[in-house]
Symmetry: D2
Subunit: 243 residues, 4 copies
């Protein structure tokens, strides 16, 4: 019997990652990666207690050894299983500072979190995704982008260089692995996401923040696209966002 397909979400906190995990858990067992177990435990519990299957692994995606160790555990749990979907949603790496006050460590943090984190995640998931080209939906690797993926604003050199690097990676992977049947996408969040951390951000208009469940719906939709119609890049923003 063929091993059952599963999904992996990196960057699971109480916001977007949780919504994505919940959504994909309706179809697949889901592995939740986050540095801090407190981030994924409530969601894993919630999924498990509502008929789904999920477990978390404490992982620092910017650290290749941590990622390797996580995927060894995953291999034990899902031996030879194809990966149906992998979502890189790691936050972190956001520093906002006048350039001359930025330390090397702070500058590099954007890349560590996004560029290198994305690399480690892609390196670990692509061999498993390639096993899944016969599944109902083409195996899918989705990267979460931001306004800073397209624009290097003043004071944002660290985060923007990380997000630009992640976008370069995603393009390169889409061009290499698309023809092998893996759907690689890059979704740009151009706005504040409505998560616990942004509760205090108030806007003049209602509905001015991106809804994380609706982000998850978009990721799921991309996942269901057939290989004839791979969507690569989509920008999402609240209706009142200035851009």
């Amino acid at each position: 019997m063929a091993a059952k397909a599963f999904a992996v979400v990196a960057g699971v906190g109480p916001g977007t990652g949780a919504s994505i995990a919940r959504k994909f858990a309706k179809a697949y067992p889901v592995v939740l990666l986050s540095r801090n177990p407190a981030n994924y435990e409530p969601i894993a519990e919630e999924i498990n207690s509502s008929g789904g299957a999920a477990f978390g692994i404490s992982t620092d995606t910017s650290d290749s050894k941590s990622v390797q160790s996580a995927f060894e555990k995953i291999a034990q749990q899902f031996p030879d299983a194809p990966l149906a979907a992998a979502v890189f949603n790691s936050g972190g790496g956001l520093v906002r500072k006048p350039f001359l006050e930025l330390t090397e460590e702070e500058f590099v943090r954007g890349y560590e979190s996004q560029g290198k984190g994305g690399f480690n995640f892609a390196k670990a998931t692509l061999p498993l995704l390639l096993r899944g080209t016969g599944l109902e939906h083409p195996p899918t690797l989705i990267f979460t982008g931001a306004t800073a993926s397209l624009k290097g604003s003043a004071y944002f050199s660290s985060f923007a260089s990380g997000k630009f690097a992640l976008r370069a990676l995603s393009q390169s992977l889409a061009r290499e692995f698309g023809p092998q049947g893996v759907h690689v996408s890059h979704v740009i969040m151009d706005g504040v996401i409505d998560i616990p951390r942004t509760k205090e951000y108030r806007f003049e208009h209602p509905d001015a923040k991106l809804n994380p469940d609706a982000i998850a719906d978009t990721y799921w939709f991309l996942h269901t696209q057939p290989r004839t119609n791979f969507g690569y890049e989509l920008d999402l923003r609240p209706y009142v966002e200035k851009w």
Copy 2:
């Protein structure tokens, strides 16, 4: 009782437009616009005989009078009704020629079809879309783009200038009408679409053409996004497409 919402698709032939019409007809009565009645008649019939409601109006979207006359007929059919979705999918305007052999008429054709056509369609549909902001899904105006929306290739100055103009229009409308609750999107087809006209195009790989039904699924998905998460631009291509 409130008037029932409907949808309009411009550029209905036996390919993408037909698939979009079929898809939206599952939820709304659909008006089909095309210059040639032979283009929409079979689809209208098919929709009507399978439980939906559709009718066509012979319309040249590049001609403001023709568009005005079409929307007068629509107003009679759907008095005061909100427009749930409007899709501008007009083809035409594609000329491929060395620049010095291009006549003024041929150059302008790309703009007439795409830029001016898009303007006329937006001008007629936006007042009706604005009536629909209380509907289940935010009222949606989708423009079909192409590779030539982003790249002016040699010999394609006519079509590319039309598609660039259409993209400018769509951006401007997204920025003006998004805050009013209308979802404006621009979807880029980066590949050959699998329609009767492209039957003879053969590729080394299977599934090398964009599937029109899957394009329609994407348009429908964009339509269902809430106003917190308006997707603006998405590029679609077959998995083996070089880009």
Copy 3:
């Protein structure tokens, strides 16, 4: 004896066009095109009285017949002469209005001025530029872009669709005529230009407007690039401009 090379500048008023004409007049006789003779007469006089050679022709670049008639006069003046440089700097076409108040005529004006104007100018100048591939500097065709060449802002659908169309045209021509030795460039003005018409615009900082003479220096520099190093697109902005 070989005919002497000359230059043509379209869109000569008291601002950028005049500066470009003055600059190129140091090397070539210059033909000045503008609808209104009052626009080019003072500059022609100034150039002629300071050792250069210039004359103007009343031309509407959006009207192919007007352009044709202008280039017949040019052919009489410079029979068989190669064209060293052609600059398309036509302004006009700028309408700023809520979309639903925009008439078809107003919307199309952006394209007429920019897209079609650029086409007519390119059609007339390219055969003459192709004669100039043996000159000291590769023959050069430069188009003046604007912020609206890259961004369709709310209320700017007319101008942006014209400027997007012009950019598409310039890309297509660069790809077709570059290999034939003609240097095609597109220069984006991202800021207010310091010309008589913008005198009243006041900014907090000094030097907050683009200097037209410095724009002319940039155009001249692009003209002097060898064919090994054709610069295609450059964005210019005042140091304090937000972008």
Copy 4:
């Protein structure tokens, strides 16, 4: 008496860096940075023996300590002197490999060389450039980009993520330091440069490689632009390049 302004070029080999150094040496004493002294010694000698002033410092721009030590030497040589121009032209970091064969070290190399290298160089030069806002030409910081600055091609994830990161950095710096009078530019080389290392690349057409002296002319031209007209991004390619 005010200290004399000088220039710094990072990434000086026998190609583009040498040409840039020679060009700027006509106006300023020039400091040449390269890991390998064999790279800058011949150029320093050549400049010194032909009336200019130049000296090299063995520097690894990806290593902050190495950069710091280099700029301590520079401070001794040019105490309190303003920096007129700083050019980041470091090559390196180019790996071309199927993604699954790429080691973490190889992936990160692109960023180390470009992103972090650019950061270290900017961090060291910006305080000196800010001293130069009263000089004849606005102090200028130029970054050398590549095709991979805009496109993540298959097999190029390492280099492209480094070049994307560098572009993000350059945008962020342009937006922060432009208003302070420092001209930040990013120049994209879209083609093979004609340097010793590319001697063996043969093309069908003559002049098919970018000429390094003409690149230097472009950098110098950007340096001479007044603060009213800062050029930010320019793409250079040989006339026969496909793009």
